[in-house]
Symmetry: C2
Subunit: 335 residues, 2 copies
């Protein structure tokens, strides 16, 4: 069945999961129809809360994500008439070639399948890195327009790709665990700086207290003057600053999940009251438009210039007559 973009957009807003999946595939494949559907849906975005979950390998990210989803679906929350609809995007930037088989996926399916209020999507890298973070943002926008209240974006690895992908979210949770190796500690340093919430999972393991204490100390070092009011509304309703809470959890035993959910909700309130949400959204939009602009400029440049000319310049680089920078100079001059 061939559908027009308008019909697809309509089907998505009325809850058609089959069309939703199909449009997400179009977007992942950079199909212009997918982009058109997204543009039609764009006005309906902005309602969902986007939560990024990242952390070093071996910390149990998938389990945390699954438990948060289960908790929100089954434990009634204050002021909510019905449980939130949840979408999970599992991104694997480390598999540019294999197409990305996520090991956690089978477990996830077993835990969460059958609940019509949960939608799961796996994504792997197919092209450039910036591209994956960008496609993830587009996929999240469609899910937002489709009516999902909470969108969790989980990344498998722990490199800068993951940092970029997690930063498309409004709240970023970094998962840690005791007893990881030395070079995982190095990875963590970079991740800590993007954390809105830190979780030490597997807190029943030896060394958990030490890991918790080390993280709390490291975070306090970054915020030397502890303000009077922290993570709570001051008199004018605005919290003065956000110090990422360091929570402990044993996700496999469902311990600490309630506290993580509370911290997510607290952070969301902080984002809204402090105005930081607006500031961050502007930054994200600038980066997004800038990225798309570059893609478009390159596309138009190649459309205007014969491939032969580009190839000729490459030959000169191979012959070491031009450095790559001189090659670009030459391409631009002849433009």
């Amino acid at each position: 069945m061939k559908l027009e973009p308008e019909s697809m957009a309509e089907a998505i807003t009325s809850g058609d999961r089959l069309i939703l999946s199909r449009v997400l595939t179009l977007i992942e494949n950079y199909d212009p129809i997918g982009i058109e559907v997204l543009s039609l849906l764009f006005q309906r975005t902005g309602r969902a809360h986007l939560v990024g979950i990242t952390g070093a390998p071996g910390t149990g990210k998938s389990t945390i994500v699954n438990r948060i989803a289960s908790y929100l679906r089954h434990v009634p929350q204050e002021g909510q008439l019905k449980p939130p609809e949840i979408a999970i995007i599992a991104v694997d930037p480390s598999s540019p070639f294999s197409g990305g088989a996520l090991l956690g996926d089978r477990i996830r399916m077993r835990d969460l399948s059958g609940d019509p209020g949960i939608f799961i999507r796996s994504m792997a890298s197919r092209g450039a890195l910036g591209g994956l973070a960008h496609t993830t943002a587009d996929v999240a926008a469609v899910l937002d327009a489709a009516g999902y209240d909470l969108i969790m974006i989980e990344t498998v690895g722990a490199g800068q790709a993951e940092v970029e992908i997690a930063s498309t979210a409004q709240t970023t949770i970094v998962i840690d665990a005791p007893g990881l190796g030395d070079d995982i500690q190095a990875i963590k340093a970079g991740l800590m700086e993007i954390a809105d919430i830190m979780v030490v999972n597997k807190a029943d393991r030896p060394g958990a207290k030490k890991t918790l204490k080390a993280l709390r100390n490291a975070l306090m070092l970054g915020h030397p003057s502890k303000p009077a009011k922290l993570n709570q509304a001051s008199e004018d309703g605005q919290p003065e600053m956000w110090l990422p809470p360091v929570l402990s959890a044993v996700a496999t035993r469902n311990e600490g999940i309630e506290e993580i959910v509370a911290a997510i909700q607290e952070h969301r309130r902080y984002l809204n009251h402090s105005g930081l949400n607006t500031v961050r959204e502007r930054e994200r939009r600038i980066a997004q438009v800038e990225y798309l602009l570059r893609e478009r400029l390159a596309y138009e440049f190649h459309a205007r210039h014969p491939a032969k000319h580009f190839d000729g310049v490459i030959e000169k680089v191979l012959a070491r007559e031009f450095s790559p920078h001189q090659a670009v100079q030459s391409l631009m001059q002849d433009a």
Copy 2:
């Protein structure tokens, strides 16, 4: 002391390490002077062999790199009058904010310092991801022109950033180790596909044989029809194909290092004889020029258009009048 690009290029080719370090810093900071020095030096590049070393956290990459360097500096190689000069670039893409403090560095310094035939450079991400892989290639080109025979590019993490960085090298070594966690296995799948040489380090640990066997099986699956002549010259001097060897090592005890060095040299011969070196260099140059072209096009676009206009379009995206894709459409139309 202020130097002209010409004097700096000259100083680098005559072995001035201070100027070399200074120029590498200029290049990392996207300083046009650094780019000019690189262009002046570009004709002298192409002599060094670039080896990328990557792998999941906890596999002992730094130790392997250090031991390879020590081995080549101290054990005379056939047909060589003097030991090769070696440069090591340690890249940490996971630290976009902290500036990247590599834990392995102190150990590395202790092991290798004092040898004037070894030059060590640490790099951390400061901007976009594609940028880091690109800057790494530029840094390697300067080291190549400076006369280093072997340039090892080691990455700390294991995401796609590392894959991109490692792929700037001619020979890619992927390090593995027994007893890593489940989601490290998922990371490995992506890395295996870029490996020219696989090494199972920490081979004295339990499970090493299993890891070796699993890797060999996985590699054979990817090459179902084993050719008659593998990794060795056929009658016309060209090996028919390259099946990545799976080696075992205990780097801390210096075991297996000789075999890794032999495999690197074997792979280099294969690249040259098969003509694959030329094919791959062309691919690398196209990607490099393409990346620089995009940077330049974006720069020129913004120079031609008032910032006010770009800001206005962002406002429309924030008001959800435009989707990001429609914003770019609008920017291009007014161009």
